[in-house]
Amino acid sequence: MRFGIFAAFALAGALLLGSSRLSAHHGTSGYDMDKDTVLKGTITQFDWTNPHGEIHFDAADANGAVQGWIVECGPPSRLVETGWTRHSLASGDHVTLYFHAAKNGSPRGILVKVALESGQVLENRA
């Protein structure tokens, strides 16, 4: 009985949490929001654009094979609130990216935060 009540609360919490994950432009159902992916990569392109910024980078997988990724971040008007500028990332920068990857296994994701070589950490704002 106690487990049943606990399970009900857990389910309600999960529903509430899941449903509140919103974006101004689209939902996040394409990403695995319950799993964090962390990759060290090299920036190949940074698109400071609407409706969402895009960070293009190369990262090596466990076997050393290099793959091109794209993770989305917020639009410029939101990112400036947490200290971003259009020059925050540039091609060739070595960074560590924390993100939620696409559920379907494609090299896409939504950014949580990015750690720069300088030590500065920029959080996403969607």
Partner: protein, 280 residues
């Protein structure tokens, strides 16, 4: 004789006052035109306002609710169901359930039917307040201008004026306003087309839409935004969104947020299509 003249003058003045009050009452809640020399009591809404979205949480981390217009009852998961407290007409809930919205319990990742995402059509009212962006009030004697970062769009709220008899339907409608007390601006809007959604959940409306916004300054750094929907074409009774608290912000228009079909299509190609393709 002099006393009679004074008495007659007083009676005439009293009669005129009564006639004026009766006229005011007959016009409904909106005050009648205010003469140029009359001092208008207003609330100072200067500054920048808005709720600016939230960070994307790591797995398992708590996530704050966005600045979204929700439902009179229940939580976000109830939006668009009988539990949400909205008195939908049958066609309205059928249409709502047919949409692929960007928000709410059935938020879709791609191929949204949102007219703003598909065509960059204006958000309209009250959806413009759904955006995690800023806005600014510019107050003059004749009007309050509301400037919105999202969509780079603005509205005119005419003071001291009645609604047009038959306004042309438009995305943002025709707005008149007045001040109540020392802390509230009331905005009354009609004349909408039926192309917009009320919110990012996808609630529809008709051209009968009448929106009442009550913008109350509760402190130097907080506004309360209370929005009532009156559209008997889509809903069987008036209903209201829960009152939103809006924070004071800064740096208005440092980055505006235009909508571009080209940019939306580019994002679809680079992110949405690969992310929703069948897993290999």
């Amino acid at each position: 004789m002099r006393d009679r003249c004074v008495m007659a003058t007083l009676l005439i003045s009293l009669s005129l006052f009564v006639i004026n009050v009766a006229t005011l009452c007959a016009q409904g809640t909106a005050p009648s035109a205010i003469s140029k020399n009359q001092r208008v009591e207003s609330v100072d809404l200067s500054g920048v306002w808005g709720n600016l979205g939230s960070s994307v949480p790591a797995a398992g981390a708590p996530h704050a609710e966005g600045p979204y217009l929700l439902s009179p009852k229940g939580s976000m998961k109830d939006a668009g169901t009988p539990a949400d407290g909205v008195p939908y007409r049958p066609w309205a809930i059928t249409k709502l359930n047919s949409e692929r919205p960007p928000g709410g319990p059935h938020a879709t990742f791609d191929r949204s039917t949102d007219p703003n995402i598909q065509y960059c059509e204006l958000y309209g009212v009250p959806r413009i307040y759904n955006s995690p962006s800023k806005y600014k009030f510019v107050q003059t004697q004749e009007a309050v201008y509301i400037l919105y970062e999202y969509g780079v769009v603005w509205r005119v709220v005419w003071l001291n004026r009645k609604h047009s008899a038959d306004p042309d339907p438009s995305y943002m409608g025709e707005s008149i306003g007045w001040y109540e007390g020392k802390d509230t601006l009331v905005v009354d809007s009609i004349g909408f087309n039926d192309k917009t959604w009320l919110d990012s959940i996808g609630r529809p409306h008709t051209e009968k839409l009448h929106v009442i916004e009550r913008i109350r300054k509760v402190s130097q750094d907080k506004l309360e935004l209370a929005i009532t929907i009156d559209d008997l074409g889509a809903y069987s009774a008036q209903w209201s969104y829960p009152t939103k608290t809006v924070d004071r912000s800064k740096d208005f228009a440092k980055e505006t947020w235009p909508c571009s079909v080209r940019e939306n299509n580019d994002f679809n190609d680079s992110m949405e299509t690969p992310t929703t393709a069948p897993a290999k």
